[in-house]
């Protein structure tokens, strides 16, 4: 009987502990968003311009101006860059100002954090071009196949020279930008897939990082994210075309 009571207490303590950890995790997660929000809104920019949020025409023109200025700046570089217009739902691959590929965005999701941005914060995230600092993907960037040279023509004749048919894969990639944004590009096929291990792994990794921080009462990192669903082949072509650390300009 004593053992049962002890077990009862143990279960109760574990449950209370789990509840406490959960609450701690949630509270610190909210604090992390709040911190980023406050920091973005108070960030210093060159020219202080207040967003005239009441006038939608003004706001649209202003965002368009920012986007075009960024594209013009990027056009001066020699590398391929991404320009994303969330207003027109287009994802473009550009080089020297020439649009190489336009992919229409089938679906767009972003954190509600972006809906609450004020002038300074808008500048911080979208006022200028950003650079990709890390990219993770479900496919290889360079699909290299290593082939040993045959010793003679007999060995060459016996080698299989059949080319693999164009294999359809789920294409997903995640890019961390230097301004803190997480850009998630998802092939439209992955939307209906219930077995998307790539995003599950990313989420698990993030939870693990956040969790280890919250356990020692540290505020976890928060990166506002934008999720873009595009055609599978476009997602693949764009991922393979951009350099390892591409420049990106986004128009919200």
């Amino acid at each position: 009987m004593k053992q049962s009571k002890l077990l009862n207490w143990l279960l109760l303590i574990i449950s209370v502990l789990l509840l406490f950890i959960t609450l701690q995790y949630i509270i610190l997660s909210v604090i992390s968003v709040r911190r980023v929000f406050v920091a973005a809104n108070s960030s210093e920019i060159g020219t202080q311009i207040e967003l005239n949020t009441k006038d939608s025409t003004w706001l649209e023109l202003y965002k368009q101006k920012n986007w075009m200025e960024s594209r013009l700046k990027l056009a001066k570089s020699d590398s391929i860059y991404l320009s994303i217009n969330l207003q027109d739902s287009t994802l473009q691959l550009e080089l020297k100002g020439v649009v190489l590929k336009t992919s229409s965005i089938a679906e767009l999701r972003h954190d509600r954090f972006f809906d609450e941005l004020t002038g300074n914060a808008y500048h911080h995230y979208f006022g200028q071009e950003a650079s990709g600092v890390q990219t993770l993907a479900s496919i290889d960037k360079v699909p290299l196949t290593v082939k040993k040279a045959p010793k003679d023509s007999l060995e060459f004749a016996s080698q299989s020279n059949v080319i693999d048919s164009t294999e359809v894969q789920e294409i997903n990639w995640l890019m961390h930008l230097d301004n803190g944004i997480e850009l998630k590009i998802k092939g439209i096929k992955s939307k209906s897939s219930h077995n998307n291990s790539f995003w599950r792994q990313q989420k698990l990794k993030q939870i693990k990082n956040n969790f280890s921080k919250t356990l020692i009462f540290e505020v976890p990192e928060y990166n506002p994210s934008i999720e873009i669903y595009v055609d599978e082949t476009d997602a693949k072509a764009i991922y393979r075309a951009i350099p390892a650390q591409p420049m990106v300009c986004i128009r919200l």
Partner: protein
């Protein structure tokens, strides 16, 4: 009689213990599931609610020098013109090495599109530690020259790939006629846009770095693109 009653009480004690353990187990599993659900789904939902992250945050707006709508409109027009000017007005070619497709533009309009073949991304490793990567380079190029009835001067890898001994430079076995189609356009560094005998592979990444096209497409590209025209490869 006493034995029977003892065994009954023993049984009931055992079943009580079992039910207690089961209840405990159920309780632990459900609390763990609840915990996982809160962390996996509830926490992300809560932190996405402005009600929580925005509450009592004072957003200080700085002195405004907001330009007016007409000024913005004028500025945007200028910017748009600058951007438009960056696209070549004459003819240019865009090649997608991922889909193995090409797009020929004339006066900023799509003039012709079709399938092509680009680099296979095969790394050929020879016995003497030499290696070659068969990749089509990416970036912006210009047409350096135009050739009719091109002859393929086979490089070393063409022999290594087939397990043949590499002949000396200028050896007649290095020259192959009629395999590059009727025309070729040079992009520099030995890369060409040319025809192919293997038309069934068009649309696939099978080349050693050059761009292969079907006969009609190649003729159209050859006739349209002058020397100096831009070719964008991505």
């Amino acid at each position: 009689m006493r034995k029977i009653s003892l065994s009954i009480s023993c049984n009931s004690l055992r079943s009580k213990k079992l039910s207690f353990i089961l209840r405990g187990l159920l309780f632990s599993i459900s609390s763990f599931l609840l915990f996982a659900w809160m962390i996996w789904s509830v926490a992300p939902w809560i932190k996405n609610q402005p009600l929580f992250f925005k509450s009592k945050v004072e957003v200080t707006s700085t002195s405004s020098n907001t330009p007016d709508v007409n000024l913005l409109r004028a500025e945007n027009l200028v910017l748009q013109k600058k951007l438009d000017r960056m696209t070549p007005g004459g003819v240019y070619l865009v090649i997608n090495t991922s889909d193995n497709t090409f797009f020929l533009y004339k006066n900023k309009e799509l003039f012709r599109k079709g399938m092509c073949s680009t680099g296979s991304f095969i790394k050929l490793e020879a016995a003497n530690n030499k290696s070659w990567i068969f990749e089509t380079p990416k970036g912006v190029f210009t047409i350096k020259g135009k050739i009719t009835d091109p002859v393929w001067r086979k490089p070393d890898w063409a022999f290594v790939e087939e397990g043949l001994p590499v002949p000396p430079a200028g050896d007649p076995s290095r020259y192959e006629y009629g395999v590059l189609g009727d025309y070729a356009l040079s992009l520099g560094d030995g890369y060409l846009i040319h025809g192919t005998l293997y038309k069934r592979f068009l649309g696939m990444p099978v080349t050693h770095g050059c761009v292969r096209m079907g006969d009609d497409d190649l003729e159209a590209v050859y006739q349209t693109l002058p020397v100096g025209a831009k070719v964008f490869i991505f």
